[in-house]
């Protein structure tokens, strides 16, 4: 019988043991409150621009004169399932943020597996669904870069200039289960900010740092954020790529990405306390429902249990 331990579990544990020799102070849990808006949307033919404007208003987001980067989740294409943020939502966000007076709105993504970002975007319908797509899109894998010091224990780490220059990064993930992280939502979507031209395809460096550790580090680095989660049709089971489509019929909005992801987990029937990266991000935002100002729909009322990958250690809450 093989020992019942995974390398993914053991490596961070070993790293933690080493780190405990010079333990940094425990993070102080987030003490404020965060608004999160949940809106019903049955399908992608609805007036998504109005939904997005409503979500932005309910969360009190200021957009005027800001350089906005819309970061969808563009991973791989498989016509049989729903891997990527639907192009209709991305096109609606482009329109909505422009209408609110943003200085600029750019769609940007750096897929983790596929080198041909423009080809992938074509397969996913982005060229057809976004007017002048090529002029509005930046391939973050191949953008020019600048260094950041002390990122996730690395003395120097490089990020795309497009995201470093942004006043607001709008994370637009698909609502999906993830066979390793439990769920992949607005915080993990930031993996696509890491440039493949330096870190490769896949961005193996993030796996070596640790998936939850990398998620938290990226969200610690990029704090001027907003989330619009595509939960109209999400993915359950063996996400983030090989799962099956799951209709949840919601859009979730918020400035606090921790609170947004915790709310999405509750909508998906997943206990946020069992998501490791959320536990590690207690200083970055609210996971406690008492600290989340629910706006729009009540999250409990739109709960749609997502099936988890059978091997997952998670169980439905």
């Amino acid at each position: 019988m093989k020992p019942c331990i995974t390398r993914r579990a053991l490596l961070p544990a070993a790293a933690a043991a080493l780190a405990s020799c010079q333990k940094s102070p425990e993070p102080i849990p987030f003490a404020g409150t965060s608004p999160v808006a949940v809106l019903k949307a049955k399908n992608y033919q609805e007036d998504l621009v109005t939904h997005i404007l409503t979500g932005i208003r309910l969360c009190g987001l200021q957009v005027k004169d800001k350089r906005v980067v819309l970061k969808p989740n563009l991973v791989e294409f498989d016509a049989a399932t729903s891997i990527n943020t639907d192009v209709a939502l991305v096109a609606a966000a482009l329109h909505a943020f422009r209408s609110l007076g943003a200085a600029s709105v750019t769609i940007a993504e750096g897929p983790g597996h596929r080198r041909d970002t423009f080809g992938l975007a074509d397969e996913a319908g982005y060229w057809k669904g976004v007017k002048d797509f090529e002029d509005n899109f930046v391939d973050l894998n191949r953008d020019d870069v600048s260094p950041i010091k002390n990122f996730a224990g690395q003395a120097q780490f490089f990020f795309p200039n497009t995201v470093l220059a942004a006043d607001l990064i709008v994370s637009m993930p698909k609502m999906k289960t993830h066979h390793w992280a439990g769920a992949t939502l607005s915080m993990k979507n930031f993996f696509g900010l890491v440039p493949g031209a330096i870190y490769g395809w896949p961005k193996n460096t993030l796996h070596q740092i640790g998936i939850p550790e990398s998620i938290v580090a990226l969200n610690r680095q990029f704090r001027r954020t907003f989330a619009i989660v595509d939960g109209i049709v999400g993915m359950e089971g063996n996400g983030p790529i090989q799962g099956t489509p799951k209709k949840a019929g919601v859009l979730v909005f918020g400035k606090d990405l921790v609170a947004v992801d915790a709310t999405c987990c509750r909508i998906m029937g997943i206990d946020p306390a069992k998501i490791e990266y959320l536990n590690m991000a207690v200083d970055l935002g609210a996971t406690n429902p008492a600290q989340i100002q629910q706006r729009g729909e009540n999250a409990a009322a739109v709960r749609t249990n997502f099936q988890l990958f059978p091997d997952s250690t998670l169980r439905l809450a």
Binding site: I5, R115, D116, G119, H179, Y199, D311
Partner: protein, 297 residues
């Protein structure tokens, strides 16, 4: 190949060469090694020109003291694209000290998963990858694990360098690298980035990585690549991604396949790597730069 397809691509490359001599991934962006190497290969017939030489000097200036090349002038890290720099040296019959240092760096670099510490960890893994960790491939950057694309590029470079480098380690690493690629082959006959399954569930191959894996396996006498070439043909017929079609054309033509020409009416894109690859993928084009010396198509 009609001039109407090739010429606009070469013109675009000439037009978008940066003042420092290199090429960015896109027009007006900083120069990086990867697009610069492909552009110089695509424009190889002009290697005597001042413009080509300026690009060559820039690329040479990015070599580090340890022999590796860095990805551009602003990121001082060793990088997989060292393989492209070596391939470019071979295409120009330049086998000087810089070339030797680059080859030595590639021979000293391997995927982190093959190190003893990581192999011990792998023995404890309840959901093993099924990879033979003795088969050393190459990573995107030092201290990361090995994947198909950097391994394929490094095999191409080492096989081209083999005539000039008398080193038993080079032969050993070629055998191991080929073994690594063969061990990561998907059940459909092709390759993706380097995982044939995740958590026990099979993953499909990708067109571009299938093309690159085949390029890396050129000249291997031990391996029957018939099924893989058939899969590459299928992918070439089915794919509408121009990036994929360009790599597949380079690869299949390296193996002697005769493919229909791409339509002349297709204009070059603003993606400068794709522009260079499409120029290299033409029937009389540069697929030969990715073929080891002495290996017939």
């Amino acid at each position: 190949m009609p001039e109407g397809y090739l010429r606009p691509r070469l013109d675009a490359l000439r037009r978008h060469q940066n003042p420092d001599g290199g090429w960015g991934y896109f027009p007006g962006k900083r120069s990086w090694l990867e697009p610069t190497a492909y552009a110089l290969l695509a424009l190889q017939s002009e290697s005597g020109s001042p413009a080509w030489q300026k690009g060559w000097r820039l690329l040479r200036s990015w070599q580090r003291d340890d022999g590796a090349w860095q990805p551009n002038g602003h990121v001082p890290e060793a990088h997989w694209s060292t393989a492209l720099a070596i391939t470019l040296h071979c295409a120009n019959n330049i086998h000087d000290a810089a070339f030797s240092k680059g080859v030595d760096w590639m021979l000293a670099t391997s995927g982190a998963e093959t190190r003893l510490f990581n192999r011990l960890f792998a023995m404890l893994d309840k959901s093993p990858t099924g990879h033979d960790l003795k088969l050393q491939g190459w990573p995107w950057r030092p201290n990361a694990t090995a994947w198909i694309e950097p391994t394929a590029h490094t095999l191409v470079a080492l096989k081209k360098a083999a005539k000039q480098v008398r080193n038993s380690e080079l032969s050993r690493r070629i055998v191991l690298g080929e073994g690594m690629i063969l061990g990561r082959r998907c059940s459909d006959g092709g390759w993706n980035y380097g995982a044939k399954a995740a958590l026990g569930i099979e993953l499909p191959s990708y067109p571009e990585t299938t093309a690159l894996a085949l390029l890396g396996l050129q000249g291997s006498r031990e391996v029957d690549l018939t099924a893989a070439l058939r899969q590459a043909h299928h992918l070439w017929q089915d794919s509408r991604s121009r990036w994929s079609r360009a790599w597949l054309a380079i690869s299949l033509r390296s193996f002697g396949s005769v493919l229909p020409e791409e339509p002349e009416s297709q204009p070059p894109t603003h993606d400068l790597i794709l522009t260079a690859l499409e120029a290299l993928a033409t029937p009389e084009g540069g697929h030969r730069y990715f073929r080891p010396d002495g290996v017939a198509a």
